[in-house]
């Protein structure tokens, strides 16, 4: 069929574009799985510890809502599957979403698809190639999970089922993304819609699993977990994601064959012919540019904090069931829950630093999209413009993490009826702020050195995440742990607040901010 002409070339080209990012993602996904396998073997080495875990979790509605049905927890394989599947499926889904959009709608939005189609490619070729490369990556990752489990000595059949379950969710999201990439003309909007689909499937599964169970069957995440690897080992639910993938992919191609290239089925709506006063000064305009990202992150972190808070009450029992966990969290204080909340807040702060970086680097994306010159040719100082974005980034980061602390406290209060911790957790959120600022200021410094160096900031964040994860599991050398700002955040509310590291980090953040702005002032605009 001529619509598919050039698919091979498009696929090979996509492969070439992704030659770096794809191996990195695969290593990350498979490495994560390996971490679960290794750490669970260490943490729950004896059947007694496993039984204690089962006793504390089984049937606990909050835990079921977070991670799914708990019946498999009597075996180590079942426990790993239960704990790893929610995160692994969601991350695979997010990967599938980015990958499909990157090679289809984003290319089209930038006008490159026109070139391709005008040079003899079929109109179905780019989407086919996008789906193929995504499916290839997801399949390789699934083979990796299987290999990790098989090497760990787990039964072959359930290991295959587990890998297929994770794979199936990724493929459903790939198909769904392909549909939304036809519906909307904007890569960003398509990604947002798929994000909502992932969120709703999590919610349906959570509500369904804790209630009658009916809603679970409307959720692709529910399908994956209902295969219950290492426990009931059900293969037939695989039919559901297979059918959903086939349906969404067919629908996407059907829509693609009927729509205009370069636009979606939905046209953008008209807006106001005059600007509101809120964007008629530089800071207000910068705020407007960052607003939707800010709202998205705030909502996400708030919901996450609230959910963790609700589950919090029961965490203590789970933690006590594992001697290794108790050791891992045993700090100066004996209150396990407080230590747990402190570490959760730091995890959220590291994730939130992703927002800080993207927000600080907003001028970088304005610069690389050739919009900065339009502003800077007006009487708007270079430093003033960037400093405005940085100010927004720092204030919003502080606001977000404090709000997450508050959400934790409110969640805990809703679950226990006792809101006495709310104030403490709200205050504890603020302890994370200097580390987020320092991360943001490093991004600004890199931006100041050169436009091209800016994206190295993401590498820094990845390193901080890695250091945090490995430090809590294994034995990293102390100097390496010390390199991450997040290793220096005092574990409030578990310990009393030590202001020294916070002041040092704030001072460093200020220094890097000033240096970054000074370098930016002196360098050419790209």
């Amino acid at each position: 069929m001529s619509g598919f002409a050039g698919t091979r070339e498009a696929f090979l080209f996509a492969l070439k574009r992704d030659r770096l990012i794809l191996p990195v993602c695969l290593v990350g996904l498979i490495g994560w799985m390996a971490m679960y396998v290794v750490s669970y073997a260490g943490l729950y080495g004896t059947q007694a510890e496993l039984n204690a875990l089962y006793e504390s979790v089984a049937g606990n509605p909050a835990m079921v809502a977070m991670s799914g049905p708990t019946g498999g927890l009597r075996s180590l394989g079942g426990a790993i599957a239960w704990d790893s599947m929610p995160a692994l499926t969601i991350i695979s889904g997010v990967f599938a979403m980015f990958s499909v959009i990157r090679h289809s709608r984003a290319e089209e939005e930038d006008g490159r698809t026109d070139l391709l189609l005008a040079s003899g490619s079929g109109r179905l070729a780019p989407l086919t190639a996008a789906l193929l490369i995504t499916a290839l990556a997801l399949t390789l990752a699934a083979v990796g999970y299987f290999a990790v489990l098989a090497i760990g000595g787990y039964a072959i059949g359930p290991s295959i089922l587990f890998s297929l379950a994770v794979l199936s969710f990724g493929l459903v999201i790939a198909g769904t993304t392909a549909v939304f990439a036809q519906v909307t003309g904007k890569a960003r909007a398509a990604r947002g819609l798929v994000g909502v689909v992932i969120g709703v499937s999590w919610l349906l599964r959570a509500v369904g699993d804790t209630g009658g169970g009916t809603l679970t069957w409307f959720s692709p995440l529910g399908w994956a977990q209902q295969m219950k690897p290492f426990w009931e080992n059900l293969w037939w639910p695989l039919l559901l994601p297979t059918a959903a993938t086939a349906f969404t992919v067919s629908l996407a191609f059907w829509l693609l064959a009927r729509r205009d290239i370069g636009s979606g089925l939905i046209q953008p709506r008209p807006g106001p012919p005059n600007a509101s006063n809120s964007i008629l000064h530089p800071l207000g305009f910068s705020f407007r540019l960052q607003r939707s990202t800010m709202l998205g992150w705030t909502a996400m972190l708030f919901v996450y904090g609230f959910a963790i808070g609700v589950v919090g009450e029961n965490i203590e029992d789970i933690l006590k069931s594992s001697s290794a966990f108790t050791e891992a969290f045993a700090s100066a204080s004996s209150d396990l829950l407080d230590s747990y909340f402190a570490s959760i807040l730091t995890v959220i702060a590291i994730l939130g630093a992703g927002f800080t970086i993207s927000s600080v680097l907003r001028p970088h994306s304005e610069e690389s999209r050739d919009r900065a010159a339009l502003l800077l040719a007006a009487p708007l100082g270079k430093v003033r413009w960037v400093a405005g974005h940085v100010l927004i980034a720092y204030v919003a980061s502080a606001f977000m993490i404090a709000l997450t602390g508050l959400a934790l406290g409110v969640g805990l209060g809703v679950a226990t009826g006792d809101f006495s911790q709310t104030g403490t957790l709200f205050a504890a959120g603020f302890a994370q702020v200097p580390a987020m600022w320092l991360t943001g200021s490093l991004a600004l410094f890199l931006f100041g050195v050169s436009s091209r160096l800016s994206s190295v900031a993401w590498g820094l964040l990845a390193a901080f995440i890695l250091i945090w994860t490995l430090a809590s599991f294994g034995n990293l050398p102390g100097w390496l742990i010390d390199l991450s700002p997040f290793s220096h955040v005092p574990a409030v509310p578990a310990v009393s607040l030590d202001m020294a590291p916070l002041l040092v980090m704030t001072a460093l953040a200020l220094a890097f901010t000033v240096a970054g702005l000074a370098l930016w002032r002196r360098r050419d605009l790209v």
């Binding site: 003309g185 904007k186 046209q267 953008p268 709506r269 008209p270 807006g271 106001p272 012919p273 005059n274 600007a275 509101s276 964007i279 008629l280 000064h281 530089p282 305009f285 540019l289 999209r369 050739d370 919009r371 010159a373 339009l374 502003l375 800077l376 040719a377 007006a378 009487p379 708007l380 100082g381 270079k382 002196r522 050419d524 605009l525």
Partner: protein
């Protein structure tokens, strides 16, 4: 009265390549100065130095007698700029963008804004993501033309505009110079430039090849033995590049 733009021996290096290699350019007050040269000859680099967006590696550039890099903000109060490839914020409408850009200069005259919108026939309620290239140019043109700047810097401002709007642009340029404003206009449309501009600078490989009025350029060509009958700006330009 001193020159609005005064460039002497300007050099700009990007790594080992010399984008500008000793450029001279003088623009007097009230002039429309045509800035001509092929792609990659250094026109935009010159303009970006004048705007203080990039720093010169050598030579001098003066805008209203001052340093464009060090005094960028003060100087920008007196000029307006339209780039050749306008990129806008996809979620803002054309109207919002014009108002926002105008606000950086202390606000636009609403009457003048409306008049320009009508003449260029721009739909202000469309989001920038839905605009064609020509419509994005219109947004930047209206935002610039609605200001009361002393100097207008246009870098191929009409690329993507249809011939009707191209004519509207020419009218607007004549109107603003009638009021004594100065214009630096970089363009590839030599027919347009020949009628609009008083003086010209032709740039070649980062250096000034010729500069002066059309008559002056013709005299040089004639003294080099060319036929005086067929000497449009385009002929002169091609002659310089065929040497």
């Amino acid at each position: 009265m001193s020159a609005v733009i005064e460039i002497e021996g300007l050099v700009k290096k990007f790594g080992s390549t010399r984008a500008l290699d000793g450029l001279d350019l003088i623009v007097e007050p009230g002039q429309i100065h045509g800035f001509i040269g092929p792609n990659g000859s250094g026109k935009s680099t010159t303009i970006r130095i004048l705007l203080g967006l990039i720093k010169a590696s050598g030579g001098t550039a003066r805008l209203f007698g001052e340093d464009p890099w060090g005094r960028a903000v003060e100087l920008h109060r007196r000029l307006a700029y339209v780039p050749g490839d306008v990129n806008l914020w996809p979620n803002l409408t054309g109207g919002e963008t014009i108002d926002m850009l105008g606000s950086l200069r202390g606000g636009l005259d609403p009457k003048r804004r409306k008049e320009l919108v009508d003449r260029f026939e721009l739909d202000l309620t469309k989001k920038a993501q839905a605009y064609s290239k020509g419509n994005r140019q219109k947004v930047a043109l209206i935002a610039a033309l609605a200001t009361d700047a002393e100097l207008f810097i246009f870098d191929e401002p009409t690329s993507g505009l249809d011939p009707l709007k191209e004519a509207v642009f020419q009218e607007c340029v004549k109107e603003i110079t009638g009021k004594g404003h100065t214009i630096l206009l970089s363009s590839h449309i030599l027919g347009q430039l020949e009628h609009l501009a008083d003086t010209f600078t032709i740039i070649r490989n980062g250096r000034t090849a010729e500069t002066g009025t059309l008559e002056h350029l013709r005299e040089i060509a004639v003294s080099a033995g060319r036929d005086p009958d067929s000497l449009s700006l385009e002929d002169l330009f091609l002659a310089i590049y065929s040497d």
